[in-house]
Symmetry: C2
DNA sequence: GGGTACATGTAACTCGTTACATGATTCC
DNA sequence: GGAATCATGTAACGAGTTACATGTACCC
């Protein structure tokens, strides 16, 4: 499906970037909530995109002699990205979830052990939620308006927060079933 | 992380199964909501588990001469599974989400186009939710008690339903931001 | 001078999907 | 007899992770 291709095109479309910059974005606290990649995946993909003519680059000298490649999207790349953005694909397969898999097989654990496991899991999600909420409060005390770049950041951050809340709700529900037994 | 290994062990631990049976489970409407694999992944993994001594098999003749392999978990396999079930691992990386990635880059689409995209996506999630809800109503009109095998099915199905609801909430939230613009 | 961050690449390996390949059984 | 399902495998490829490998720039 070449999703990494479009993730990279989307970033470069905003402004020219180096492979290093792109990798940093993929590991930032907003984007990493729904897409990420290591530099070892990014650099080969950039070569591919050059071969395909979706991007071009110019070598920039940093300091004395450090060469970095600043990538820019081409007209072909931009068209390709646009087409991908509005494509009507069927729903992706549900993402895998190891904790759910464990829950599925946990019928032969004893109740105290199971309860501890679920509480441990809940704690982790509560901490993650708090961290996301802090970022939101700090960065977007007021929601930015649609059609600004900030709105993209805002709406996916909101989504990540809602996801953690739902997961915590599920774990609470799970715990209530256990304690009722 | 060998998660497939434990998914298979978890299934065989319930009762002896063939590779075909396991594959069917992975594509059933409950388990597939958080774990799945094709037969081309299952058969090689079964060979590995035999080599490791986690499972054993017996050949059963179906009809005249069709040989099928019925796999059973060994003591080693069961211990391994038990250890995995109660392991306290850090939270998994957030699952990737292509629709969120598209939302992230959508600031240069026009509002009608964006609104249509989000509505399309919502429709798909509403349909999925309805399908999950039907399975739930049909199969578990009353929640089964903890410590039964049915409870595993029930609690992960509940989770899948809650996930769809949250996703729909997010899309509604998204739409409200768009229409306010 | 030293540590951290900047910057780019390749190699080996695991995991997962799609396609190739074959044959038996069951039900109509 | 034919179609759907049961049943088991391998091959080729694509995606993703960890490790290997190298060098510069910037700040203290």
């Amino acid at each position: 499906m070449r999703t990494l291709k479009y993730a990279i095109l989307g970033l470069i479309n905003r402004e020219p970037m180096t492979g290093y910059d792109i990798t940093k974005e993929f590991n930032s606290n907003v984007l990493a909530n729904f897409w990420y990649a290591n530099h070892s995946q990014v650099y080969p993909e950039l070569s591919k995109l050059i071969d395909e003519g979706s991007i071009s680059f110019e070598v920039v000298i940093q300091g004395e002699k450090l060469e970095k490649k600043l990538y820019t999207i081409t007209e072909k790349g931009r068209k390709d990205l646009m087409k991908w953005l509005v494509k009507d694909d069927p729903l992706e397969a549900t993402p895998k979830d190891i904790f759910r898999l464990r829950a599925y097989f946990s019928d032969f654990l004893d109740l105290d052990e199971l309860s501890d496991l679920v509480k441990q899991q809940k704690l982790k999600h509560v901490q993650k939620l708090e961290s996301l909420q802090r970022i939101m409060d700090r960065t977007y005390p007021v929601p930015p308006s649609v059609k600004t770049r900030e709105f993209g950041d805002f709406i996916v951050l909101e989504s990540a927060i809602m996801r953690e809340k739902y997961y915590i709700n599920w774990l609470d529900d799970y715990l209530s079933h256990i304690s009722r037994a």
